[in-house]
Symmetry: C2
Subunit: 317 residues, 2 copies
């Protein structure tokens, strides 16, 4: 059987036909244009899916199911999307509307969660039965596979790894709590700390790199200067790595996976990031004589959304 | 079938004959006297097991297996206990030595982990398939049941909940890291903060309650004064509840269990503790519109060790 995977975000919709082993046979994309409202967006998701299927040369009869990755979550009790800030959705019956246009089973899950499933099937975590995927972007999302299946918890609210509190009383989070991991391990954290530092040290390399326009400081600005040997930015980045590793230690202490895959924007720092994490992590492991999770870079990049969404149906098959 | 459960700690050995549904039919105990060395202690564990079996009126043929809860862990690769500080054990082949005296399958696990299994079968979490048990004592231990089975992780190092870091850069922990949850959510934390406060406020009720002998401050001293309405101790206890709840939020965000059961010394504060946790927790939950774990007091108390150890064999059956 084949599977259709749809990855819908605030800016674009991607759809692909995916094989049983997680290979994309064909893919297409179009803009989301979310201001049109959810009906028009969901219609385009269906249209793009049928188009990519036709172009792939396969027939609807060969399709097992359609999977969708969204930047939010589905309420498993109702099958509806209660809210999805990035898409501007509120109480949207996604499955119902999509099935009106494509008569196949439809599965929906969070975009980071499906990316974790994709990495576990066709990416860096392939071959393991227990893996965690972390996306280090504007926020921190996660997908957890335990015993070969996506782990969602009985209420479907598990694996909100970004809102694990690692610095009680720390930075205010959008969720209302203080000190969530994503306030320290996201690209946003690097930007915040970079701007704070440059503001306070106007003679620093970071300040000069943006000609004093602090709002031009991006995570990449700090990382590139750190890579180039600027001691201030290296210190900023090392502090980021410490907070990232704190959360990884927690994931190891709680899930004990075989592998934790790092994805998202910050993971583009590549081995510069990975080497620092792998130097620090062994010192912080609780059971120092026991084997523990490897930390690796995720491999599927932007394709993880399509692949993982498609594979939602495979794991239900 | 019946099961034998052994609970061995630094001061005492307890053994019981346990039914299929987790009821203790008969139990006995004796002192550990750990200074004799592990051979003598393990011999007493076997002797006590055979004695409790004989007194129960049942025969060895009716016994499925023997389970042992230890204040440490077994290396699943070797079946040996690499180290167990409370027992003074180092690289002890517990299963092998015990089987030399009782020819039955022997299962070993951490004491908090087996208590979690016990609560999930015969305690407050009975009827759920996903539960977490937390023991709030000298440290913080945990036992996690997912989908009806003890969750240990592929390397057997999962559910070290006490060493989840909730205050990065915070109090130094015995494990070498800073800010582990057990530095904030254990009875030890209440004692530490109580002593610090009384030291700095020699006119406070807590200082007077121990006549200035700060090393006489126990967790109970602080809790009893808080219950009696002393504002300083209530503030100390509320701060404890905040840090406890931070970790509970993390457990919900990561495991999403149906129930989290609180056991150990601090849980003896009863509804005074539970009501405060249940007042704070809903404010800190990430998905405020979704159902989430109930927080409850554990029910089995000291029997949890025997029952859970015995049930280790049942879940392998």
């Amino acid at each position: 059987m084949l599977y259709i995977g749809i990855d819908v975000g605030g800016t674009g919709i991607k759809a692909g036909v995916v094989s049983e082993n997680g290979t994309i046979l064909h893919k297409l994309s179009c803009p989301t244009l979310r201001e049109r409202g959810h009906e028009a967006v969901i219609h385009d998701m269906a249209r793009l899916s049928l188009q990519v299927l036709a172009e792939s040369g396969h027939a609807l009869e060969e399709i097992h199911s359609v999977g969708v990755g969204i930047p939010g979550m589905q309420d498993p009790r109702t099958g509806r999307i209660p809210f999805c800030t990035n898409l501007g959705w509120h109480d949207v019956p996604l499955v119902e509307l999509l099935q009106q246009e494509i008569d196949k089973p439809v599965y929906v899950n969070n975009d980071a969660t499906v990316a974790g499933l994709a990495e576990s099937i066709a990416g860096v975590s392939a071959g393991t039965k227990n893996s965690v995927f972390i996306t280090l972007g504007t926020g921190v999302g996660g997908g957890v596979v335990l015993d070969g299946k996506l782990f969602m918890g009985p209420h479907g609210i598990a694996t909100e790894v970004g809102h694990m509190i690692t610095v009680a009383g720390g930075e205010m989070c959008t969720c209302g709590n203080r000190g969530c991991w994503e306030r320290y391990a996201s690209a946003t954290a690097i930007i915040r700390e970079g701007r704070r530092f440059a503001e306070a040290h106007r003679d620093c390399a970071l300040f000069r790199a943006v000609n004093g326009n602090l709002d031009q400081i991006e995570a990449r600005t700090v990382i590139d200067l750190a890579k180039a040997g600027d001691p201030d930015c290296e210190k900023l980045f090392d502090n980021y790595v410490y907070h990232l590793t704190v959360g990884l230690i927690n994931l190891i202490n709680l899930y004990d996976p075989e592998i934790i895959a790092l994805g998202g924007g910050v993971s583009k720092a590549g081995t510069f990031l990975l080497d620092k994490v792998n130097a620090l992590l062994p010192e912080m492991i609780f059971f120092k004589t026991m084997p523990h999770a490897r930390i690796e870079l995720a491999r599927l990049g932007n394709d993880a959304g399509i692949i993982g969404a498609a594979m939602l149906g495979r794991q239900e098959a």
